[in-house]
Symmetry: C2
Subunit: 229 residues, 2 copies
């Protein structure tokens, strides 16, 4: 599997073939993902492979409220839970979430409603004792800590490609973090970082849409000349 091709074509996949993924296959994926970077090489990630049907259903049920809140905010043109946002507009949007949930309950459902049926369902947790938060003056539970966890999470998706797998990383379950932690028996020092779904894709993306380098890269200053290479 070519590095550059993989980096350029690994997109979010939510539709999977019914074919199961062997534990040996998943173990190989994790065995490569674990070489990701972390502050002080502390490797503060923890993975729960959710296989039990009842635990899967309960995880889906904890995932769904955040998903409907997400949809409600998107429907009003908001960036869900953005750190900089119009709080009044967000509060108004969230009032739609129950209706959206009720509508969804009457339909066939999509990825979120069938989260319990994906071939591989992982919860990645982060050990708060191991993260270098750095901007701790702002909060003890922070953005920069993600630098020690999300490269690992992303590695799971990249490494999965070599096995013909695909999937998606979501953070929606964090909306019900305490209940997710209780479901998985997670102690206080673990935080929910992501839910990852993997499987053999119905279709592997061929071409992703991204902005060009010069649109986000500049020289010396944020308002400096665009970097074109």
């Amino acid at each position: 599997m070519d590095l550059i091709e993989t980096l350029r074509t690994t997109g979010a996949v939510r539709d999977f073939l019914p074919e199961p993924v062997g534990d040996d296959v998943l173990a190989r994926v994790l065995d490569t993902a674990r070489f990701g970077p972390s502050g002080g090489n502390r490797q503060g990630w923890r993975v729960v492979v959710v296989q039990d049907p009842d635990t899967r259903s309960r995880l889906r049920d904890l995932y769904l409220p955040g998903w409907y809140e997400y949809l409600a905010m998107r429907a009003r043109g908001l960036v869900p839970w953005a750190p900089v946002t119009d709080e009044a507009a967000e509060t108004a949007a969230l009032e739609d979430a129950d209706r959206i949930a009720a509508d969804a309950a009457n339909g066939p459902g999509g990825f979120a409603e069938h989260l319990d049926e994906v071939p591989v369902l992982l919860v990645v947790l982060a050990d708060l004792r191991a993260l270098a938060a750095v901007d701790r003056g702002f909060t003890r539970y922070t953005f920069a800590g993600g630098a020690s966890v999300y490269p690992f999470v992303w590695n799971v998706l990249l490494a999965a490609r070599a096995e013909g797998l695909a999937g998606v990383v979501t953070t929606m379950a964090i909306r019900r973090e305490e209940e997710v932690k209780e479901l998985l028996g997670a102690p206080a020092h673990l935080a929910v970082a992501a839910v990852v779904a993997l499987g053999y894709p119905v279709r592997q993306p061929k071409r992703l849409t991204r902005e060009p380098v010069e649109s986000f890269t500049s020289v010396d200053r944020v308002d400096g000349r665009p970097f074109t290479g």
Copy 2:
């Protein structure tokens, strides 16, 4: 360049050959890195290529205090800025930072003291209007937002390998975030996510040290049976 080999061998490199890196080479690296994932595909990353010698020196000067605070905490066995830590021990450790800085000023210096001399020096910023923070109830500036930025940052290091480059991601500059933002002319809605150094390595790591999968992976629960595949 093989995907799996790259994922398994891309470690932190801080020693570079004096050979410069062409803008065309860096542009290719960023052109691949931009295919990273982000919430809603909002691609809220911004990259500043710091080339001006004076701006580089000032960035190094803003980087160093955090670096010495880091060393001071490490010297006392602490995880620097961990979200869960012994605050009294940390405060005591930070008192050593000035002495460590003074000692360093009398030595030849290492990566941090020569940060302004690395072949490629990037500052990655994150647009707080574009991140899905999700755990916003906790804070508006959060861990989960890192899921939309740090895969991109990690992609820079991975894509660099195909060009024979190597480097390191650091978050230390966030300790002086406001001053870094002022230096780069960054508006309020941008946060400093990382400083990335790249160059042709004196030595490319061959073998990284990581814990085995079963040490961090379990089935159904955090305290479930270790997942061995």
